[in-house]
């Protein structure tokens, strides 16, 4: 009798829990006057924290410019890279501006705006390294560092199956480890590696080569990540990206960081 009651209660609760997992919300009735933006804060020069604990970087400046363009009040939160997509899905923030590439694997989980930049991957090695080219044979058995669950980690494993690919929580940790001599090579975005190699910390190492991005892994460049169903916000952001490209804000921001155009090729007409 009592057990029967338990089961009834259980069934009701379980139904409540499980029956709803895939329902998708539309943002049609949201006004989006306030948007919470998630970023990582450990990926210079795109997003990082300076010594006073303030968020800086290309991603951050672009996000601020987009918010100004959309006349939206934005607040920033930081989130570790490997929890980025769940945190977006769970509503910890509304838009993900963290140098995330638009890949097919990620598009199954979340939506993306059009790209706001696209740069190729590259490999760096210590200056005294015997490795002269990036092939599976030369990197066989070598320890390659990359950031966990990035396109670069995935590409490293695909391109160099006989290497030992180690995945670090942030880009800064693999840099520390190649500076210490724990790694034989590291793989990341060419801009990220370049920035580091120019700094004092990167004096240990040199760029080995820039690789061609495999679209199957790297997708269509870097976009702003959004929850599926937030179509209104997507349209607002896509329009804002076009607007800041056209009114010169984008160029002004990128000139403070880079001496070349990080936007890459114009996307093919759809």
């Amino acid at each position: 009798m009592r057990l029967a009651q338990s089961f009834a209660l259980a069934a009701a609760l379980a139904g409540l829990f499980a029956g709803t997992a895939v329902a998708q919300q539309s943002d049609a009735d949201k006004d989006w006057s306030k948007v919470v933006i998630g970023t990582e804060g450990a990926y210079p020069p795109f997003n990082f924290l300076d010594a006073s604990g303030e968020l800086k970087g290309f991603d951050v400046d672009i996000a601020k410019a987009l918010c100004a363009e959309m006349k939206v009040e934005c607040t920033f939160v930081t989130q570790d890279w490997d929890g980025m997509i769940p945190a977006l899905q769970n509503g910890n923030f509304d838009a993900l501006v963290a140098s995330m590439s638009i890949t097919p694997e990620r598009e199954e989980q979340i939506a993306f705006t059009n790209k706001y930049y696209q740069t190729p991957p590259a490999i760096a090695v210590p200056k005294d390294s015997e490795i002269t080219e990036a092939t599976d044979a030369t990197l066989s058995g070598k320890a390659i560092g990359a950031q966990v669950s990035t396109t670069h980690a995935q590409a490293a494993a695909a391109l160099f199956p006989s290497a030992d690919v180690r995945q670090y929580p942030t880009a800064e940790e693999y840099k520390l480890d190649i500076e210490n001599g724990r790694l034989d090579a590291v793989m990341d975005d060419v801009v990220v590696l370049d920035e580091w190699l120019k700094s004092d910390a990167g004096a240990c190492c040199k760029l080995l080569s820039t690789l061609t991005a495999d679209p199957a892994i790297y997708g269509k460049g870097v976009g702003v990540g959004l929850r599926k169903g937030d179509d209104k916000l997507k349209t607002m952001l896509d329009d804002a990206i076009v607007a800041i490209r056209e009114n010169g804000t984008y160029d002004k921001i990128q000139k403070t960081y880079f001496d070349f155009d990080v936007y890459g090729k114009e996307p093919a007409a759809q």
């Binding site: 009834a8 209660l9 379980a14 829990f17 490997d82 669950s149 995945q167 210490n180 724990r182």
Partner: protein
């Protein structure tokens, strides 16, 4: 139990009164189990097992071997520490106390970071003393931290167990003309070990749980493999699998301990 005798029950609480707490509580658990079952049936994906099954088993093996080796190493280190704690020499006592306090008073995760990233800064020093090969590898750094950490806990277990053996055992041994060493190893230790069995088993369980931290310094233990799988699929069942494996491991150990304790204390039962 007195509960079977209605005469002893307080008259204010008649037996017929409905007690909802029990079935609400068990109902909640049944709900959770049902929700999980429902979730699993819907989300279960054979391709995930094909993709990650072997990595999980490999991760389980890394966890078990890491805990096993560091437990044994910790046991060896704990012996001098425990003796230092019981020594009359104030220097030995102070050193042993500081060792135990340091490792028990600070988080293991901070210790691991200190030994992995902190020691990496002193590559030159470790190369001169010929230990860099050891501190270069994340696995050895994890082993080092876990072994010293458990040594501090084991030293206290050992001390407590030895001190629990009555003084009369020492005196009895001496009156039989046995040397201190023989008394310690043949008379005191076997009795102390029976007392220490349960605390030691608890320590292994705590280590299995704590060892999950090494995933953060690129060791692919069970938790590390789980994070990998999750970051590729964003499928929550990857974490549920890990939870089930950890629970199975811990419960198996607990039951084995209960069994061993019953066997070892047979002679003490009256």
């Amino acid at each position: 139990m007195s509960g079977n005798n209605p005469a002893l029950a307080a008259p204010a609480a008649p037996r017929e009164k409905l007690k909802p707490a029990g079935f609400v509580a068990i109902g909640l658990w049944i709900a959770v189990a049902a929700a999980f079952a429902f979730y699993f049936v819907r989300a279960f994906d054979v391709t995930l097992i094909e993709r990650f099954g072997w990595s999980y088993l490999h991760g389980l093996w890394v966890t078990v071997s890491l805990v096993g080796v560091s437990f044994v190493l910790g046991a060896i280190v704990s012996l001098p520490v425990a003796l230092g704690r019981m020594a009359s020499n104030p220097i030995a006592q102070g050193l042993a106390f500081a060792f135990v306090y340091f490792f028990r008073g600070t988080p293991l995760i901070a210790q691991i970071f200190l030994f992995y990233y902190g020691f990496g800064q002193f590559r030159g020093f470790f190369e001169t003393i010929g230990l860099w090969w050891f501190f270069r590898e994340a696995w050895y750094c994890g082993l080092f931290s876990l072994a010293l950490n458990t040594a501090a806990y084991q030293a206290e277990i050992l001390r407590g167990a030895i001190e629990s053996v009555p003084k009369g055992q020492w005196e009895g041994g001496r009156s039989l003309g046995l040397s201190r060493q023989v008394i310690f190893f043949k008379v005191v230790m076997p009795q102390a070990m029976i007392v220490a069995l349960r605390p030691y088993a608890n320590e292994i369980i705590l280590m299995i749980k704590a060892s999950a931290i090494v995933a953060i310094i690129t060791v692919y233990d069970l938790f590390g493999e789980t994070r990998q799988a999750y970051s590729r699929t964003y499928d929550f069942q990857t974490y549920v699998w890990a939870a089930l494996l950890y629970l199975a491991l811990v419960e198996a150990l607990r039951h084995a301990t209960n069994w061993a304790e019953r066997r070892l204390t047979r002679h003490l039962k009256r």
